[in-house]
Symmetry: C2
Subunit: 348 residues, 2 copies
């Protein structure tokens, strides 16, 4: 068990290192206002903290640097809550008052806010489209041979895909089909669309169009190809600003990691209500092992929608990042909520 004094010293060291990115020496600590002991005492405590695994040295005569265990202890027990500046808060509020009526827009804006306010890289995992519901389906002919299919969900999300119209299908058939589909599929969750199309609608359609199979096949290709949830990344170049990434190879590794959308999406998904923090080697992926990843989730009512995250060096401003993620995930959830339950202005 750590003594009060050790707790204090550990906290001060980590705070200092997070700010300065330089190994912290005993003299520097002794000078702090909150510290009343001499550098020699500090040295003794530091030696103990090192032995306990909370601190490390970069070389035998260097100052101390927090270990991953140190950071873990810090975020669990030590760190003091961060008060966002008035400026930051109004910045966020402002961003959310002006015409935030589209999912994509909210998410992109949020990613941007996060990266701008932290100098880290923000990653936002979009919702599983599956959970939203079909509002309207439309097929708009572009030429005699091509058309664009448009799918609108209740969240205002629009998917579209152009396709060639098979010769055997007449425009009038197409129209009939769309009518039937809209009638039968309105309000159906996107995740169920596929199944429903294949079963219930099949018979119905057969009565009206001769070439159901072909039409079905095309429709499916047109609409259901990429419904995997999207990744929004903000401030990718912020990584370059961090002193721990002055070595270009690390940057390269991290970038190619971020481009692995599938893997990242998997890593991110945070199903809990809480904020989740992964420090250094707590991350499974090797390219991220000198990084920390902090994730929070946003939701619509009780439904988890997606995850917002910040990726930075292990020497991260945990406290600030957590405050920000909390504020922003709430703000996002609120916004989505307001689209459904609020007054005519869509404001709270």
């Amino acid at each position: 068990m750590l003594t009060e004094r050790q707790l204090l010293i550990l906290q001060v060291i980590i705070d200092d290192f997070i700010e300065s990115a330089q190994p912290v020496g005993s003299r520097a600590i002794a000078k702090k206002d909150s510290i009343t002991y001499s550098s020699a005492t500090i040295r003794n405590e530091m030696a103990d903290l090192e032995e306990l695994g909370y601190l490390e040295k970069t070389h035998s005569s260097s100052g101390r640097v927090p270990s991953e265990k140190g950071y873990r202890f810090y975020v669990d027990h030590l760190m003091s809550p961060f008060d966002l500046s008035k400026a930051d808060i109004t910045f966020i509020q402002d961003a959310f008052t002006y015409q935030m009526l589209e999912f994509e827009r909210v998410v992109q804006q949020s990613a941007r806010i996060l990266s701008d306010l932290t100098n880290y890289t923000s990653i936002i995992l979009g919702p599983e489209v599956y959970e939203t519901k079909l509002k309207q389906l439309q097929i708009i002919p572009l030429s005699n041979y091509t058309a664009v299919a448009i799918l609108v969900t209740n969240t205002g999300h629009v998917e579209h895909r152009s396709f060639t119209i098979p010769v055997v299908i007449q425009p009038v058939d197409l129209e009939k089909m769309v009518n039937i589909l809209n009638e039968k599929l309105y309000g159906v969750a996107i995740i169920d669309l596929h199944r429903k199309l294949r079963t219930e609608i099949l018979e119905l359609l057969r009565k009206h169009t001769i070439e159901y199979d072909k039409a079905y096949q095309y429709l499916q290709a047109a609409l259901f190809e990429e419904q995997s949830s999207k990744l929004y990344v903000g401030g990718k170049t912020n990584i370059l600003m961090q002193p721990e990434f002055k070595d270009i190879d690390k940057v390269r590794a991290l970038y190619s990691m971020i481009e692995e959308e599938v893997e990242i999406a998997h890593l991110l998904r945070n199903d809990t209500e809480d904020i989740k923090i992964s420090i250094g080697h707590e991350n499974e992926v090797s390219a991220m092992q000198n990084c920390s990843l902090i994730t929070a989730s946003y939701s619509l009512g009780d439904d988890q929608m997606g995850t917002i995250a910040l990726l930075g060096p292990t020497r991260m401003e945990y406290s600030k990042v957590i405050s920000l993620l909390n504020l922003l995930s709430n703000r996002m959830s609120q916004t989505f909520q307001s689209w459904y339950y609020s007054g005519p202005d869509g404001k709270q």
Copy 2:
């Protein structure tokens, strides 16, 4: 005027340097099969070529490096046409045979192809949406207070924007409005939409809806906000692979430059039929002055649509890049063409 031998030597030096990124020495040149002179002779010629400004030394006893004037001469007179490998060609053809029916898709795919095949960064400037024509306008209500407006162009491009419905406007008004708009605006170029809305349609609409002004204002906000042509960037991280960018500051400068979409768009626009090459300081922007930018344009029929470009170090594989850009811009133009004039399969 350069002698035959000088031309040969210059060519060999630049070819070598483009491949190796290392200053080229006289001995290395003398060893090449195509060179029958001794290193001493080469040295004399190199000294002359340096005096003429085509070569430079990095320091007084180093090998030679092409100057920007050298590169310029090389691309204008020296470089031999590059035969793309069978593999590369089939790779491109394959990419274009499978369901390329959306503008975005074609462009994104192309950007990817370019960056993958070259290890440079590709930038594609989308078409001015203005030049395309309105196919259909739709407003789909999402709730009592919100709706999504969708605009489809003849190129299969879909724009959409959610908005709040002003209280004063009834759903039935909305419907009427959309009908009128579709009737009157079908086939109108996007660039003319604005004007037309403001003039001709105004009176017509006034007869039918009470709150035209409000509706107009909302419609406009919903549909015409971001019609600037889009930028598609591929292989941004390829920059990190080039030895001339092992210095992180240069990378940072270049990245923040690329993010200036407006400026880049302006730089890129290539209104000629031909391929345009800007070497080093021929670029106005300082962050690009150790880069070369090669642009080509793609078109629909006789209408220039947009620009595709590759950005790399001045030591670029000009010859290969040019072949690739030629092939790809043609392939893109063809594809767009085929959407309009070809048979039911959309194939040539």
